[in-house]
Amino acid sequence: MRVLITTRRRPRGAGHRALPDGPSGVPLVLAAPAAAALLFLVLPIVALLVRAPWTTLLARLTEPEVLAALRLSLLTSVLATLGCLVSGVPLAWMLARVAFRGRRAVQAMVRVPLLLPPVAGGVALLLALGRDGLAGSWPAAVGLSVPAPAGAVVLAQAFVALPFLVVTVEGALRACDPRVEEAATLLGGSRWTVFHRVTLPLVAPGIAAGALLCWARALGEFGATIVFAGGLSGAALTAPPSVYLGLRSDPEAAVVLSLVLLAVSVAVLTCLRDRWVNPA
């Protein structure tokens, strides 16, 4: 194959204008924008690391406001992820394994929050689950509305993070041979037995990856949270809004919190490296 290609290549300059090559043989017209893109991505992270108040980092991290924001973020994002797992895995299973009418439409709807600006998501949540929302008064009654900001934070995070879980798990299910499940069925397994004794263990790595992505997204949630969970005030103040507020009053605290969020991203990426960085 290689021989074929080299023998068929036209001599340089015959018909095509030769582009100048960089030192490693990569055309500069490609190498330069690639380098610019990389720099653009890396420079802000470098800036964050350079400007971080490393000497006072520990003291900063243990300040009550910072701790409270981190604690609320951790609690709400974990709860949101659990909620997404409980409802999202069955939804992914339905989408991957059950041929029902309108499946394509449901698949599209599940992906909407991926592209919808989170602020608009927050408005939509408010109209659906807020006071006088479409769903009526029950969300408030069970503590999931504006009067209970932490619950509202969980809902906002779950709304934006659920697609990450569903899409990942659905992909894992599609990659797993349905005939293994059929074999389990023929051995006498009911649908539920087959699901929890065969399907779930087989897609467990996909579920773990989806949950991690979902959690990372929930942790970073800002737009929908500030709209739906009642602005930028105390009881709903997770880490990302704190960063936003802190930039005006206490820039160092904002940098410290950003650093924590960056560390979480790097940790998640490390856990997912086999799936994202080197997809087989």
Partner: protein, 253 residues
């Protein structure tokens, strides 16, 4: 026990319409070119593909009215599809567990089945650690441990290389001889079909073209496909003539 099935299914461009009958202790092999509907026929029998008509009767009782998990129909495929996350023992114990056995009871039954196929030493092995022949035997033990009345096999030996195939074939024949239910096999290799089966059914284009013992089919091939297949077999095995021995494994096409 008698299996009487009229298998009708639409899988465009194929329309399957096949009537088969097989008795307990008998192995019926479905032979035919790729895409003829053999696998679809097995899937309709098993309840994995919804039929568009027909029936599946076992001793006169309508099997087609039951979902796949309650048909007592086991299936062995070319890819043995063992559960990769379970040990050989737990793979075999899966069927008994589904039928209500407790964990230790199911494991005892599974151990007995692994002993029967000679693999009790590999009880803790994961499927990926098994050789293809061992995987076939574990898969067979798993199928039989669920107590099927009908055993379906879709080219169970096709994934094996030429070196291990004769051994696997004789092992499979040995274990099948102890099976008291109905066995339906799909093959597209005539010697394999003849070695394992008591009767052959030739399916082409979704239709049963010929049925009979391997010797009968060999003597009077009714379609061009089967005649060409026999001719190519005869060319590769000169000097062997079809014989009328009905005992399993002694018939050569």
């Amino acid at each position: 026990m008698m299996l009487d099935a009229h298998l009708v299914a639409e899988r465009p461009p194929l329309r399957l319409d096949v009537r088969i009958r097989a008795a307990a202790g008998e192995v019926l092999a479905l032979l035919g070119p790729g895409g003829a509907g053999k696998t679809t026929a097995l899937r309709v029998l098993a309840g994995l593909t919804p039929p568009s008509g027909g029936h599946v009767l076992l001793d006169g009782a309508p099997l087609h009215a039951r979902p796949a998990e309650r048909r007592s129909v086991a299936m062995l495929l070319r890819e043995h599809l063992l559960f990769p996350h379970l040990s050989a023992l737990d793979n075999v114990a899966f069927g008994p567990r589904c039928h209500g056995a407790g964990r230790s009871e199911a494991r005892r039954a599974a151990t007995a089945w692994l002993e029967r196929v000679g693999l009790d030493a590999l009880r803790d092995a994961r499927p990926r650690e098994l050789s293809p022949v061992q995987a076939l035997l574990v898969s067979l033990a798993r199928s039989l441990a669920s107590g099927p009345r009908v055993l379906l096999m879709d080219e169970p030996l096709a994934g094996l290389d030429a070196g291990t195939r004769p051994e696997a074939r004789s092992l499979l024949r040995h274990h099948l001889s102890a099976f008291t239910g109905v066995c339906v096999l799909v093959a597209h290799d005539p010697p394999e079909a003849a070695a394992l089966a008591d009767r052959l059914g030739v399916i082409e284009g979704g239709v049963l073209m010929q049925e009979g013992t391997p010797a009968e089919v060999a003597r009077h091939p009714r379609t061009g496909y089967i005649a060409r297949l026999l001719a190519s077999q005869a060319a590769s095995q000169p000097g062997e003539t079809p014989q009328g021995d009905r005992r399993r494994g002694h018939v050569r096409l």
